[in-house]
Structure formats: C-alpha cells, structure tokens
Symmetry: C2
Subunit: 212 residues, 2 copies
C-alpha cells in the first residue's frame, strides 16, 4: 500500500466506491464462511485494506452483516422492479418478477443461503430481514391490488396482504430449494412457481373462491 506519485492510489478512491468494495468482500466472505466463522481479518484481507479501516467505514461485524443484507436486498428489489415495470398484464408482471427473483437467487446461491437463511431467525438480524420481507409483501400486494382495480374489482387490504404473504413465503421456500440444488435451473424453477402461484392467484383475480 505504498503510494507512488502520479499513479491512482488506494487512498484516492471516493468513499462510496471504497464502501462498495468492502461490502463486495464482506458478502464474499460471509457467503463462504457463514456469519459466525467469518472474521473481520479475512474481510479486510479480501478487500486489500486494514482491519481498522473496515471498522471505521462500516462498523462492527454485526453492522457489516446488516449492511450486506440491506445492499443485497435492495439489489434484489431493483432487479425485480426493473423486470416488472415493462409488463402490461398481471400474469406477465408476476412471471417477470418471479423470473428476476429466481435468476438472482440462482446467480448467488451461496449468498442466499448465508445472507437470507441465516438472517431470518437470528438476532440481531431478524429485524433487517423482516423489514425487507415487509417491503416485498407490500410490493406484491400493491401489484395485486392494481390488477384487481384494473378489472373494476375491489378487495379488502387484508385479503391482498394475506395472498402476498403466501406468495412471498412460497417463493422464499422455493429459493431455499434452489439454493440447495446447484443442478436446478432458475428459469425452470420460476416457471414451476408461476404454475403454483398464478393458476391460484389467477382464479382469485377472476373472483372465484373455494369453499369447504
């Protein structure tokens, strides 16, 4: 880390870029080792930076993990939103959203297993994880609500929320399955989920219900 005059040096990187590089390293190391076994030494080494610098930028190992969760969660949401925005029918919206979701998980199987599965039930990460999930549920409920409104129908918010919880839960469960099956194809997994989800949700949208 000696600075040679005239060449771009490590120190000249803007703070935001430096932070993203540290987060890249942290995601890699957490994915490889799991939260508990990951060490700040290894993260600092992977980032080519001193450990005190990592602490100075991003705080404790816990704070770093939450920052990873939040960045990856935001990336996932953005990947889904970018795909959904171009679709003009509800089934195409859901299909594109699911395809983007499973493509993301398929590309980062290790990251999914570590970041999401570990974070879900574990203090102090359960809060950040639950918040991400709420955002996802909200987006799905809003999409469903719009699709219904477009057909001139109205459904109570609770009903939309419940359907959204079911769809998000089903997708998370299949994401775990995908993460555990390196041979499984993400797009095929999305198609399977679409079959379960849409052929159900599609009938609900047409106002059909099942009664005991």
């Amino acid at each position: 880390m000696t600075a040679v005059s005239g060449t771009p040096t490590f120190k000249r990187l803007p703070r935001a870029v430096r932070e993203q590089q540290m987060l890249d390293s942290a995601v890699r190391v957490f994915s490889r080792r799991g939260f508990h076994a990951a060490s700040m030494d290894e993260i600092a080494e992977d980032a080519g930076i001193s450990k005190p610098m990592v602490y100075a930028y991003l705080g404790t190992k816990e704070e770093l993990f939450v920052a990873c969760l939040e960045r990856e969660g935001t990336r996932l949401m953005e990947a889904i939103a970018a795909e959904v925005v171009g679709a003009d029918t509800p089934d195409q919206q859901l299909w594109r959203g699911l395809r983007a979701f499973f493509t993301f998980v398929g590309a980062y199987r290790d990251g999914w297993a570590v970041l999401y599965r570990q974070a879900r039930g574990q203090q102090p990460f359960a809060g950040a994880s639950a918040e991400m999930r709420e955002r996802m549920v909200e987006v799905v409920a809003m999409m469903l609500g719009r699709a219904l409104a477009a057909e001139g129908r109205e459904v109570r918010d609770t009903d939309l929320e419940v359907v959204a919880y079911a769809l998000v839960g089903a997708s998370e469960s299949l994401a775990d399955w995908l993460a555990d099956h390196p041979e499984a194809d993400p797009e095929k997994t999305a198609t399977r989920m679409m079959n379960v989800a849409w052929l159900g949700a599609g009938q609900l949208l047409r106002g059909e219900t099942w009664t005991p």
Copy 2:
C-alpha cells in the same frame, strides 16, 4: 419435596410423565421469554423441580429447546394427520390439513413465534427445524402424488417436491402473519390459504399449466 408415606409423591411420577411436565414448562418459558432470555432457573421453577433435575433429564438449555421443537413439531404433524386421514378427496385433504395447521398455530401463537421463527435460521437449531420442514414437505408431496395417481396421472418427483415446498413455504409465511395478528381468525386464515393454494394446485392436478 418431602415424601409423605402413603401419598403420591413427586418422586413417584414415571419418568415419561415427568419429562412431559418439564417440556410443558420449557415451552411456556421459551414462549414467554425467547430462547436467549429464558433461564434454566425459571424453567425449573415453573416445573416445580430443581435445576440439576432438569439438566439430568433433558440436558442443556440448547438440548431442551431442541426437545421442545421436536415435541411441538410432532404434535403439529399428528394434529394434521388426524384430520387428513378422514378426507376422501384431495381438496378435502388439503383443506383439513390447512385448517388443522392454522388452528394449531392460532392456539399457540406465542409458541409459534418463538419456537419456529427463532429456530429457523439459528444455529444450533436450524438442523432440527429443517428436518421438521422436510418431513412436512414429504407428506404434502406424497398426498399430491396420491391424488395424481388416483386420476391415473404421473408427475416427476421433483415437480411434486417443488409444489410441496411452495405450499409449505406459503403456509409458514401465513402462520407468521397469523402469529402477529391476535385478532385474526385461524379458520378464516386457513380458508384464505386454501384459496391461494387449491385454486392453484387444483388446476395443476387437472393437468393445466401456465406458459410465459
């Protein structure tokens, strides 16, 4: 704990009964406090027994938590199986299974929140929790497979497994929702889940599929 001759004393309880009483106390205390804040002192006090006895019977706090998880998981599976066995059509099977599941969760909202949600991502409980989930997925996949076989149709095991993962994940997600909403009715929640699940699974069983 002085033994009075001729009266039934604490010490005369059979081991199995004693263990169940300790597990009852442990479930109560874990539900009230969460795993980390729960103390073996409080569990022993709730059970009216000395702390060394709790350790002698059921081991460390971690082992006790896993024993609680396993007992509650087995109870849940048995409650579902008892309901499903009397149903003769696939939709009635799924409906009764869902109703039993949400009735169980509704009756033990605190226990669900603590035992299942905490256990899911957290070492060293993730293993026991994943195992319970696998059993549930297997049972659902088997039910779906039988329903298909009854119609003379065959589907690859992977496809059944994937649908089962989606249904179990959706149900878990709605169980979390139910645990967080004390005002929500378990049977109504089961009906909502049935609407999402069956109107989807029902069309799959008739061989319909959605394609992009």
